[in-house]
């Protein structure tokens, strides 16, 4: 119980530290936000009084600590500021795009887990023999071909030339398959390798031989001792890997013109639209911290050593 509370505290500290870091980025970004907002509102050549008025409106001249408190308070209540590019609230811009990103990551997560389970289990079932070698070869191939290269090829060869699927991905389930596979492949490869390792490690544990010496059956050893021991490392890497999917979303969304927050963020970076960039960072960080917290808690229910430490 103490360990669980400590883990919660740790997650909170991380989030707090992250928010300071992220706000710091917002604060040190060169350029006057007031001018950018004015530009977004269609003012070509802002006069000093107009700039001053916007600065007052955004309360940019308050002390940093106060601005941070207001910004953090806003973030907690779902207010991420207004986009420097469009002048619209960032939250509104995300709200229309988040579902598409969630669909993409969810589909990719599913595909990656299934692929990783298949490849990893096949490899660990016969270490050193052909299923293992094949699986490892496939995983290596999936790992070394960058997703965006694969995405470009898939889009142009399969969609444009062979006419499979639609060119314009509209963010619906109907078009999610190709981008999701592209996003999933490298993660699946990495996870399958981790699964193989942890299965092999669990297989070679000497307590299995002792259990066998007490007369246990192969099936019982697999069910009671091997699989449970292999689960925590695999889960941990999937938890951390979710960040990989979130981080990979901008690239894949850009390749497939997927209307999600990732592509929106890349456009925002190119336009130096910091509130949007910061908003994306916050959302991604939150997702990551919460996922790893959940994974750690699940692992602690499996492994008693994690509960007492």
């Amino acid at each position: 119980m103490r360990a669980v509370l400590r883990r919660f505290g740790q997650a909170l500290v991380t989030l707090g530290g992250a928010s300071v870091l992220i706000f710091g980025m917002l604060a040190v970004t060169p350029g006057d936000p007031a001018r950018r907002v004015l530009e977004a509102r269609g003012v070509r050549e802002p006069t000093p009084p107009m700039v001053a008025a916007v600065r007052a409106e955004l309360r940019l001249d308050d002390p940093l600590v106060e601005r941070f408190a207001r910004w953090a308070g806003g973030a907690l209540t779902g207010d991420l500021g207004i986009s420097w590019r469009t002048g619209r609230p960032v939250v509104e811009e995300f709200a229309t795009r988040l579902p598409a990103t969630l669909r993409l990551t969810a589909a990719a997560l599913l595909i990656a887990v299934v692929l990783a389970l298949l490849l990893g289990a096949a490899a660990a079932a016969a270490p050193g023999r052909w299923p293992d070698l094949t699986s490892r070869g496939v995983a290596l191939g999936m790992l070394v071909v960058p997703g965006f290269v694969l995405g470009v090829l898939a889009l142009d060869v399969l969609v444009v030339r062979a006419g499979l699927g639609r060119v314009i991905a509209d963010g619906t389930w109907a078009t999610v398959f190709l981008p999701a596979v592209t996003l999933a492949l490298a993660s699946a490869a990495y996870w399958s390798r981790v699964l193989r390792t942890s299965l092999l490690e669990a297989q070679s544990a000497s307590h299995l031989r002792v259990s066998a010496a007490r007369g246990s059956s192969r099936w019982r050893r697999l069910r009671v001792h091997e699989l449970p021991n292999a689960v925590p490392p695999f889960l941990t890497v999937i938890g951390l890997g979710t960040a990989g999917l979130i981080g990979g979303a901008p690239v894949v969304e850009s390749v497939f013109t997927w209307p999600g927050i990732g592509r929106h963020t890349v456009e925002a970076i190119n336009a130096r639209d910091m509130p949007v960039v910061v908003g994306f960072t916050l959302v991604a960080v939150l997702a990551y911290v919460v996922t790893s917290l959940l994974v750690d808690l699940v692992c602690a229910t499996i492994d008693p050593r994690l509960r007492t430490r």
């Binding site: 544990a205 007490r214 007369g215 246990s216 059956s217 449970p228």
Partner: protein
Amino acid sequence: MTDPLVVDALTVTYPDGHRALDAVSLTVGAGERWAVVGRSGSGKTTLVRAVLGLLPPRTRVTGSIRVGGQEVLGAPEAVLRAVRGLVAGYVPQDPYAACDPLRTVGHHVTEAWAVHRRRPPDGAVSAALDGVGIPDGGRRALQHPHQWSGGMLQRATLVAATAHAPLLTLADEPTSALDAELADDVLDLVRRTCGALLLISHDLALVARHTDSTLVLADGAAVETGPAARVLRSPTAPETRELVAAATVVPRAAPAAAPGAPVARADGVSRRYGDVTAVEDATLTVAAGEIVGIVGRSGSGKSTLARLIGGMERPDTGTVRLGAGDGRLRPGFVMPIFQDPVASLDRRWALWRTLTEPALARGERHSRRARRALATEALERVGLGDIDVDRLPGSLSVGQAQRVAVARALAARPALLIADEPTASLDVASAAAITALLREIADAGAALLVVSHDAPRLGGYADRVVTMDAGHLTEDGALRDAPV
């Protein structure tokens, strides 16, 4: 009644072609206690695995093994499973490695029942744990292995192996992870609870105390068989003689000369870590030319006392006087020797660098060539003159590495050497060589303080042995009769 174990002309060849056992025969009668001894790699563990039918796949096995009259070679899995756990109990070497960290201790203890589709009788687990000296067993069985101490956990695995009163108990080095005192406790329990016993060990003293008959294996062949007392007293096979000679410790006669001037003196020192008192009010003097041994269980505070006397740690109360006692010691006045010899040498440094580091630290300046010559000299002093000074520690055997560590300590020209379990990582032959070397060093005039849990061996070369128990120095006198 059938003999619990009959092994006949057993030959085991591993898939890589290594012949681990060669025509070994052995009969363990009901209630007999057998020991199988031999160096590591002599085939002891293979024998146990063969009996349990747990050799890796594609291993070629010929001959015959009958456990309780049942032939196990070539037997179907179902027959083997009935033999394992019920007819033959198995006590593993390292209790932590033998337990699934995710399962409770109780799970392991009752596993033999569970896998044979039986329910343990009510209260059986707690009674069995109670019987091996673990009170409140019913509650403690719900804890996980990492919450138990090694000695307790080993007793639990013992219960797991013997709770069904098997015809035969196979114990593979069941005490190598334990302290000497605990080892005897555990083996007493094994003797009480097992039917017939087959004990694998490399510890001849232990074998002599706990078994009746001995089988000596060397390179997979049975080189000597017979009553334990006869085999260990008057061995006939050269391999047995070698084993016995290496393990024999001749108690040292009373010190010939009076000890020299005191080099280190601890006066009423105490040291606490948090709530734990490691050393309390200990007084001990080490003089030039003598070896003082400190024995005690792990956690008794013996290492802490040594560190206090060596000035590596400061006492909370009491005083430690080193040398002239003016508080200013020359570097290298005290030098350490550690349990893990390989770790005590920088693994990135060729031997000559390590061996001449103390000289440079004194401020001497030498050319590279002179340093190598110095290093060669230092190695000659510890009997390693034929070792190339360019070698890295990792390429040495553990015994050689410990000698290099001693040479490095000597290179600092110490007045006092503090050795913490200097022989615990070594095989018997290397340990004997190191103790002889330490004796020589003391006879040449240095003071030595040796910490060890191995009282008999320490008795073989120390002038005085003191005992630490729970932080208290309980005995400071001339050597008692060293037990064998």
